[in-house]
Symmetry: C2
Subunit: 362 residues, 2 copies
């Protein structure tokens, strides 16, 4: 447990709690639809690649973790998908009569709203539920205690903002911006380096926790190998950044406040992820691909809905730095510029912007 | 997992959350001191009765559960005591170099304040922490997944108020009272029957969850075999009951409201517990005794402190039924009658009123 310190050091940016107007619970349809899209792929990975028989040869329990589970209906829908696929595989691969017991660990930062999560656990669920607070960049579980790990729309959150971005003397000082897509190569490299460090910690921790033969399925915002970071949909976050700069020009926000703020998230390419998995050496890559969840979405993809989604996810990060008043005003302004926003939205979402990968512990 | 329904049916009465004036966190010194008293006994049970070597022969993890953990500093102090004793035993019994990893499951009702619990997890703790929401009268964990179970000041809470108490046509209708110590034999018997039912469910669930050789240590309010229930310290709760009846007489509370309210708690005798353990048949009784935690208490045992403690524990149950205004007024009145209360307190606490037992899974 030597990396417990690392756990204590990481920062947390929980989604908006509760179930009010701006809550993640009420504003996470897109994430749900994208996990429905992932369902087919999870089914396939479990059906074709997982040897359940050997996993439950010693015990009658399958332990599953959802890393970065957040809170809201999506959490349970995604887990239900995983469990159904596992159950189906057990029945087809096992002796037919023996479906194991499932223990599901819902993990997120200690500041996640676990009270709401626990209160909304589905009645009649066919699994034992537990909540595990803490950063997934450190150890969360005992050695060889997990059989299946799932993580959706979570691993793009960095453990912290790369330090160089805040250093006025660094080439990577991110003056007047809050993200990297429209920034210099130095800024983008600092983000990439932080992701590399975090992903190494993530893979090291999971390598210890997952049993041999166990599987990990990850879905996260990503960038196709052949696209330059400056073409990424982070343009939308830059839209928030420029709104904040408008407020700087009007004297409502201090410029230094914007300079010292950066979104701690990164969208890696399949190539970057593959390299880190290979360096770690404990996992085989069973699948690695970009996908476009929008192609299967049924919900209206309009500016208002998107802003509400973005707000549910991002408000916590912004509020910690700017305070709730400024953040409220910022989102008000963005709502008023929805035509402009709508145009950007169309542009940036015409791409495969999610990376999906399946790893198996050797 | 057939008894999942039972889990859904049980009611919950969490301690006061947060860390304010009336919170359990700020008002649970007595419980802490009583668990310090229990520490010696836990040490002894683990040192003399637990065969750790065989428990960790298959895996390098010891799984521990605190059932009815509540929230507050006591939760972690008690767990630290258990872990130190386990670690000591590992070092003395194992090969010296191999201390297993510990996974600790903190269990309580889903309505317990897990957010506060998770936010206050000790830094630098040497265990992996998880929260498990749900009633311990049903299954909470997979088969044979726990090595050590601890429960302090929790198992006296019944899963619900015995139904007969609310039935006007029953001999056990508890008119004008809110507890059993000053009530008729019929009322006391209804409480005892509910405890029997609940304890059977508790033991059945634990029998499945605890591995062979695993241990369960329980500390709870109890009644010596040789004392009649009417002499029990529940007199203090009757004091609240009579205060409510004063308010009925003044027209502030409807009589029917008091008639339909009963504290869902029971203090069993060692004899009752032993009989149920023997009927269950899966556990050996390693220890069963009454104890008097007050004999080792250092905190002032005055009426004010006691009322605050009682309020932190009981307010939730009362508020659910009477609403917060009436409950506030009730406790105000009790505070004003502290001299009278003080006298009762002295009388009722001159007895061994905690039962402590250690069971081992055969």
């Amino acid at each position: 447990m030597s990396n417990k310190e690392a756990v204590a050091m990481t920062e947390s940016y929980p989604m908006n709690g509760g179930d009010g107007t701006y809550s993640y619970t009420s504003n996470s349809t897109y994430q749900r639809e994208s996990s429905l899209y992932a369902k087919e792929m999870i089914d396939e990975a479990i059906a074709k690649k997982l040897d359940i028989k050997s996993l439950i040869s010693n015990s009658n329990t399958l332990c599953i973790a959802d890393l970065g589970c957040s809170v809201g209906p999506n959490t349970f829908i995604a887990m239900q998908n995983v469990l159904e696929a596992l159950e189906k595989k057990c029945l087809s691969q096992g002796n037919g009569s023996k479906v194991p017991e499932f223990q599901v660990f819902f993990n997120d930062h200690a500041s996640n709203d676990f009270n709401t999560l626990f209160a909304s656990l589905p009645h009649g669920r066919q699994y034992f539920a537990a909540g595990v607070p803490g950063s997934f960049y450190g150890r969360l579980f005992p050695e060889s205690s997990l059989h299946f790990v799932y993580s959706s729309t979570a691993l793009h959150w960095l453990s912290k903002v790369p330090e160089e971005l805040l250093d006025k003397n660094s080439q990577a000082w991110n003056k007047g911006r809050i993200f990297y897509p429209s920034a210099s190569e130095e800024v983008a490299n600092a983000y990439a380096a932080q992701f590399t460090k975090d992903m190494k910690n993530f893979l090291n921790a999971r390598a210890k926790e997952i049993v041999a033969g166990g599987m990990m399925v990850v879905l996260m915002p990503g960038l196709s190998d052949d696209i330059h970071y400056s073409q990424r949909s982070g343009l939308l976050i830059d839209f928030i950044g420029s709104t904040l700069m408008d407020m700087v020009n009007e004297g409502l926000v201090r410029e230094a406040q914007v300079d010292s703020f950066n979104i701690p998230a990164y969208c890696p390419s399949p190539k970057e992820i593959s390299r880190l998995v290979e360096e770690n050496g404990c996992f085989s890559i069973e699948r690695m691909q970009m996908m476009d969840p929008r192609s299967k979405m049924h919900s209206p993809f309009d500016a208002h809905t998107f802003i509400m989604h973005l707000r549910a996810v991002m408000e916590g990060v912004f509020t910690k730095h700017f305070g709730s008043e400024i953040v409220g005003e910022t989102f008000e302004r963005i709502s008023k510029k929805s035509a402009e926003f709508s145009c950007l939205l169309d542009k940036s979402y015409n791409e495969r912007n999610q990376v999906y990968f399946v790893l198996k512990h050797k």
